[in-house]
Symmetry: C2
Subunit: 469 residues, 2 copies
């Protein structure tokens, strides 16, 4: 099982297994020690040459921990440096050190690809700030922090797919290119063929009509919820916002769900909460060491956030003692202006730095598809936002207006009746009460890990004035 190729990957994975299993693996390895000849491949994270012995740490990216290699000093070579790729043959043995399960006694060391350490921007054993490594989008994944981040992102992605599949949702690839503009927002990217862009020929669109990058899959999900009852999507969305803030990207990922036969905002909030808890507990169990790195070095003692020790307690509070914290705190908004970042901060602080649901927004602030609460003449709609400490809006959702006359009159006033004829159709043929929400995936990662800048939780950030690689 641990022989020859791929041996180390198998071994490394043990690190993320429950302690009991890990111990069993260690025992098994101990017993077969002499026979355990393996070939290990990876990149050198440290070289320490002593008189009698050469120590290497090598890493293949499958976990934060590196494997210690112990070798005879005669095996040292000039190009065996930090960052070089190596292949080591040797025997896996129990380590005499408390900090690691085992180490590799090298018989041969082959440098597969050298690394010019003078021009390599990452340095051995240096804790580079996130701002520094951000300058090197093609190399920063080799940094410990970004490596941990991307493993967590990968596990969270898998966790999101599992959550919805396990709960009977059908996954839909909502389109990236669309002729719709869901939110009515002006901040859109438009698409043309390279040739059109050069000729700026207004009347020869590739798709015959102007086409844009999607800002939300919601309307398309509503189509699908009319057939599959529960549907979800998880893909890229876009905003051409001229902002370099730590909270905005031009390209980011959104998880969106839509539920038919849903009459209550509470049901939508329940799915948001279940999604958050399930995915977070997946991440915590799948990559504890990676998460620990963030809670230790990136957001230490940041009590207001889910990062640090407090978040674990906090998560438990959600799960085990829901009455101890004022959640869901249902605020009926009385003012007529939209929530700004400062309002969000105030609300979250007011509630004791915990996640807060805000419901029932003023009618005029929200898009045409949100359901009129009929608590007054066009007074409020059944909308909900989930605000979290440090990040602000994490999720936004609503019940959708399923009643044809309400929707018709609203679209008519906006002059959108023709453009949304297909959307009105959905209310003519077996319309049902329904609702849904979207969660910003990068903001989710920022929140659970306490990462301040959204550019540090996505592999290749795109924002105004920057599209590297």
């Amino acid at each position: 099982m641990l022989g020859a190729r791929g041996g180390w990957r198998a071994l490394r994975r043990c690190a993320s297994l429950p302690r009991a299993v890990r111990l069993r693996v260690r025992e098994a390895l101990g017993a077969r020690e002499a026979a355990e000849a393996v070939r290990v491949q990876g990149w050198v994270r440290s070289v320490r040459s002593q008189k009698e012995v050469l120590f290497l740490h090598i890493n293949d990216g499958s976990s934060l921990e590196s494997l210690q290699v112990v070798a005879d000093p005669s095996l040292e070579k000039r190009d065996l440096t930090f960052g070089s790729a190596v292949e080591v043959q040797g025997k896996l043995v129990k380590s005499p050190h408390r900090m690691q399960n085992m180490e590799l006694q090298a018989e041969t060391i082959h440098v597969v690809g050298p690394c010019d350490i003078w021009s390599f921007p990452l340095k051995m054993k240096e804790r580079h700030p996130l701002e520094y490594v951000r300058q090197f989008p093609h190399l920063r994944c080799r940094n410990n922090t970004l490596g941990a981040l991307l493993r967590i992102r990968s596990e969270a992605t898998a966790g999101i797919h599992s959550f919805f599949q396990d709960n009977g949702y059908v996954h839909i690839h909502t389109p990236i290119i669309t002729s719709n503009d869901c939110e009515g927002a002006g901040e859109l990217f438009q698409i043309e063929t390279s040739r059109e862009a050069k000729e700026s020929a207004e009347n020869t669109h590739f798709f015959n009509v102007p086409a844009f990058l999607t800002v939300s899959g919601q309307l398309h999900l509503e189509v699908m919820a009319g057939a599959f009852t529960h549907v979800f999507t998880f893909g890229p969305t876009f905003r051409a916002e001229n902002s370099q803030s730590r909270r905005h990207l031009a390209e980011f990922y959104m998880v969106e769900a839509e539920l038919s036969f849903t009459e209550n905002l509470q049901d939508i909030m329940q799915v948001m909460e279940d999604l958050f808890k399930t995915v977070t507990s997946t991440v915590l169990s799948k990559c504890p060491r990676d998460v620990e790195l963030f809670h230790k070095y990136i957001a230490p003692a940041q009590k207001r956030s889910i990062a640090g020790k407090s978040d674990i307690t906090h998560k438990l509070a959600w799960q085990e003692a829901p009455k101890q914290i004022p959640r869901p705190l249902l605020l009926f908004l009385q003012w007529g202006c939209d929530l700004q970042t400062e309002h969000e901060k105030y609300l979250v602080k007011h509630c004791g730095e915990v996640p807060v649901f805000v419901v029932n927004y003023p009618y005029d602030l929200k898009p045409f598809y949100m359901r009129d609460n009929e608590d007054g003449p066009e007074h409020t709609v059944a909308a909900v936002d989930l605000l979290v400490p440090g990040v602000g809006e994490l999720c936004g959702g609503s019940l959708r207006e399923e009643r044809l006359p309400f929707l018709e009159s609203r679209l008519q006033r906006l002059g959108l009746t023709d453009a949304y004829q297909w959307y009105l159709d959905l209310r003519k043929f077996g319309s049902v009460p329904h609702g849904g929400f979207g969660m910003g995936f990068e903001r989710y990662l920022q929140y659970i890990l306490g990462v301040d800048n959204i550019k540090d939780v996505i592999p290749f950030p795109r924002f105004s004035h920057s599209c590297l690689l």
Copy 2:
């Protein structure tokens, strides 16, 4: 468990469970028959009114099968029609019919949303051709065939994520917007903000540089393979090809994987094959009835394809008797022109209408990043395509040129040295032999289901002159 809300969804899921489990559920239901009061929600698929009894079939999209409702004729209403949304309260009982496990004896029937059957383009019990329903992108998912297709697509999506996660790959969201042009192909979509598009202001790009929709995540995956060894991505890719063919879309999905420390094309082919087999067997076990629909009505007796009975045999042959079929048939291409559709067809036919790997393409035909085989002066590169009956190219992959001098001289000749400085960097800092491949997700679905037109295997097809919704 089966009480009140969501009862039917739980019940419907039973249909996809192994027979033994289904039987146990049936027994349990039988025993508790009298107490089994449930509320079921869905859309009416058929109404049949007899003198003594009213039969309904209702469906909530969780499976192809509908639930039979038996009611007193007094419960019939004028708006209880095909396509309407209903909520039925009643008792679940064992069905006297052999074809179904159980039926619902209705106590009340509430029409949640009526359906104007005269303007509704789908008709009761009619088998609409795929070309017909394609005209109604907002309603076609309520058609049996498209419903089955999208459930299969959802399961295949989950299967792809599981396959890679289970094999230790890290998932990467490669960027959609990029300043690179991976293949050097001219058929790109360019992105501008809506304002730029109107003003056609050449020198005020949102990202400072011209930006395009990705045609492949490969180069970005190579970045990540240098840190995580094994990585994959599964997302949308784009071609501004002016084609309305049954094989091309402007927006389609691609699964891509990249493997470090890989020196052999055979290893890449093995991953392609494992991926194909694992995902296909997931789909077959998760939605057997949905797949059956295609093999029965859409591609009956289409022996050359994996659809119909033959494909199952064929799949088994791959798994169980790999020596019986001439695969992998490694063709060393001697001619200097690229493979056209007709060549692909010939090769597949020549090999007995089975999937065929074609390897080692002429050097000049392939992009700059493919690895020189050094079997002559710039003679061939280590590329591989997987051709399948009926569809053509399903996968394409290669070893990548990891040797700095080879890559440098090639980029220099193309005048691309400056643009790809970051890509050359990857060869300076711990470069390793590596390779990878991409699989067209829609073509995969076309192939396993025998669907002729690619527009019928994606929720919202985008192609030249068409971007509906």
